[in-house]
């Protein structure tokens, strides 16, 4: 059987070109060369596989010229047509980790060549790509090279040969959301007792099934005295001054609106409308209070039910706007609300 062909990707640092000052080093293909950590990999491979080429790329270069770097590297890999692509290991180097994840994922997706990488669990590249490519869990510095290569090489061989991949704890990759069965050395009850003893002693223990993460934020304490509170209105219903002065897009909005309502007691057909493209706008355009109840809150403000209606409202368009950007908008204007002394928020959605 012929040897498995490997293409290895590393950054400028591990290629001995230089540190941060050389991070803008463009992608470079070195056919027939085994560089840096590639030596250790090659040793582990023995006769089973050989590194036929190494690709070196500066971390800043990769991340700052993402499209070009990706395209160039993909072309290099394609030309070499390896059986497997290995990136890293990146340990705790953030931009290197992201580069390894990005390019490994791209090689798999676009070239259909299996890929594997490795990095420290807290490397930002880990969360981004561990569910997309097999990613070996490494120590947080290059001092863990031997351990990393010890896991990376056999996993790469298995993947290249198309052998079944065992559970994450057996193969050393980060849990990737795919549950894989295997036989433990001790029966379940014994493992439970051992885990219990550790938990009782306050020692670290590892659950065999981490509960799905609950990305929840605990509720803040209630408003104590409404009559002294400043309440702000926010909406994802896209209410904007008539004519949409900031040109907020009807879907997939790239920014949010901030509008002063000092002296505005009622949102009328003549003064306000919706920029939202995801629902029938007729009702909101007729009377925007139907989405953003300024009229009611003004009355409550006048009657002393609430201390004050904040003089600015924030608006976004929920329709098709990426969760991440919606969150970024809210992160930003929440800080403004706090700076302005707002005590609580009413958010309306359509």
């Amino acid at each position: 059987m012929s040897k498995i062909k490997v293409v290895h990707y590393i950054n400028q640092f591990f290629a001995n070109i230089g540190g941060e000052e050389k991070a803008d080093y463009p992608a470079e293909l070195r056919v027939g060369e085994v560089v840096g950590p590639g030596m250790a990999l090659a040793q582990k491979f023995g006769d089973e596989a050989e590194i036929i080429a190494t690709i070196v790329c500066g971390d800043s270069y990769f991340n700052e010229n993402l499209d070009k770097a990706k395209a160039d590297i993909l072309a290099m890999v394609k030309e070499q047509a390896p059986d497997i692509f290995i990136a890293g290991p990146a340990f705790n180097a953030g931009r290197y980790g992201v580069a390894c994840g990005t390019i490994a994922d791209a090689v798999q997706q676009e070239l259909g060549i299996p890929a594997v990488t490795g990095m420290y669990v807290e490397n930002p590249g880990a969360d981004m790509f561990k569910n997309k490519v097999y990613m070996v869990s490494t120590k947080n510095s290059a001092a863990g090279m031997r351990d990393a290569v010890g896991k990376l090489a056999p996993l790469a061989l298995k993947i290249a040969k198309g052998e079944p991949i065992g559970a994450s704890c057996q193969e050393g990759y980060m849990p990737n959301g795919i549950r894989v069965n295997f036989f433990e050395k001790e029966r379940g009850s014994k493992r439970a007792v051992k885990m219990l003893i550790k938990k009782l002693a306050g020692k670290p223990f590892e659950t065999e099934y981490p509960m799905p993460t609950f990305d929840r934020v605990a509720p803040n304490p209630a408003v104590k005295d409404l009559s002294k509170a400043t309440i702000a209105l926010c909406t994802s219903g896209g209410i904007v001054p008539k004519g949409n002065p900031d040109h907020i897009e009807s879907s997939n909005a790239s920014h949010y609106g901030e509008y002063d309502i000092t002296g505005v007691n009622d949102l009328t057909e003549e003064t306000y409308e919706t920029a939202h493209g995801g629902y029938d706008p007729v009702y909101a355009n007729e009377d925007s209070d139907r989405v953003l109840p300024v009229d009611v809150l003004r009355e409550m403000e006048a009657n002393g039910v609430i201390g004050k209606l904040h003089n600015k409202f924030y608006t976004t368009v929920g329709n098709g706007t990426a969760v991440a950007s919606a969150k970024a908008f809210a992160d930003e204007y929440a800080q403004k609300l706090i700076a302005d002394g707002v005590d609580a928020v009413i958010m309306t959605s359509t």
Binding site: A167, S168, C169, Q170, P175, G177, I178, R179, V180, N181, F182, F183, E184, K185, E186, R187, G188, S189, K190, R191, A192, V193, M195, L196, I197, K199, L200, F205, T207, E208, Y209, P210, M211, P212, F214
Partner: protein, 426 residues
Amino acid sequence: MRLEVGHIFIKDIQFGAESKIEDGVLYVSEEAVKEIVLEDEKIKSVKFDIARPGESVRITPVKDVIEPRVKVEGRGGIFPGVIAKVDTVGSGKTYALKGMAVVTAGKIVGFQEGIIDMTGPGAEYTPFSKLNNLVVVCEPVEGIKPHDYEKAVRLAGFRVAVYLGELARELTPDESKVYETYGVLEGKEKFPNLPRVAYVQMLQSQGLLHDTYVYGVDAKKTLSTIMSPTEVMDGAIVSGNCVSACDKNPTYVHLNNPVVHDLFEEHGKTLNFVCQILTNENVYLADKMRSSDWTAKMCRFLDLDAVIVSQEGFGNPDTDLIMNTKKIEAEGVKTVIITDEYAGRDGKSQSLADADPAADAVVTGGNANQVIVLPKLDKVIGTLDYVNTIAGGNEHSLREDGTIEVEIQAITGATNETGFNYLSAR
């Protein structure tokens, strides 16, 4: 409570003219056991067979697996409230026939499940492939209702097991183990510095083919309660559950409850094993609220430091498991829970039907949806007719070459949620 369990190793089972145990061989008189089974008029006929480890034999559809035992000293008898009269068991001396089991098989409902392969890849997944099995295949009388048939087969298995256990009454055990628990104060004095630990066992209790009996009482009609963990060793809990082969607890598992055994291993060393708490898995949500309230309340009353919670079954019990865990943790009592997973054939789906961050220490019996191909074996005890429709099978289950493609949920004990098996997942 103090119970001594004597182990009598059975290295083989053979049919013989007279039932007896000699030099570690169990000889079974077919005539005698036949008579015992046919005591029940709902059973029309019965066949016996022997399946030994390594033989090319498949047993299916399995209903229950039972270890023969006999009570030689102390109150009560094996299977109190079911076979023996109601009396508190769990003290004195009991002998168990180790290395063997009585396996009841037969079709109770059309979608029945349960495979025990004695060799090949399937054998790795079922703990019962390591035993010498006396298989009892019952045929019911015509027109019988499934619940009557289930009961008849359930009880027939127990009667046969008790009969075989009796054969050991006058023997000398090959080895003995002593299990002892103490009263609340007594235990505190004896082990003043050891953490107080209990075992919370959730019992399947949802209806026909989903029932468990405690001293003969249907568990769905019980409030959460306390037992000495030695009571199960005398058959205080028996299975009436024949659905979900991979994660149901056969009576064998109740008798040899692995959590009970492994906690006893640490008893007096790293922990004080205080008691076993039983609770159920009813269908009605308010029952769940009540049962989990009681479980948590007892954990507090008993001043426990930690518990292990085990589950039985899929779906509905996930909710009980999480409710118990949250409430027990909220009482300041630490938990480790044992469950299994239904993560889909590709392993990508969410494993449980419920979840909570309080459940931070989980032992898993593996993904029950994993697909496995079982080879054709020389002999089938029971019938393959139903393999097509057993849980985890599909229309292609029984393939032309005689191999069977099934999810491991069809294999008896594969993902057991008391931690009886070695399978796990990550």
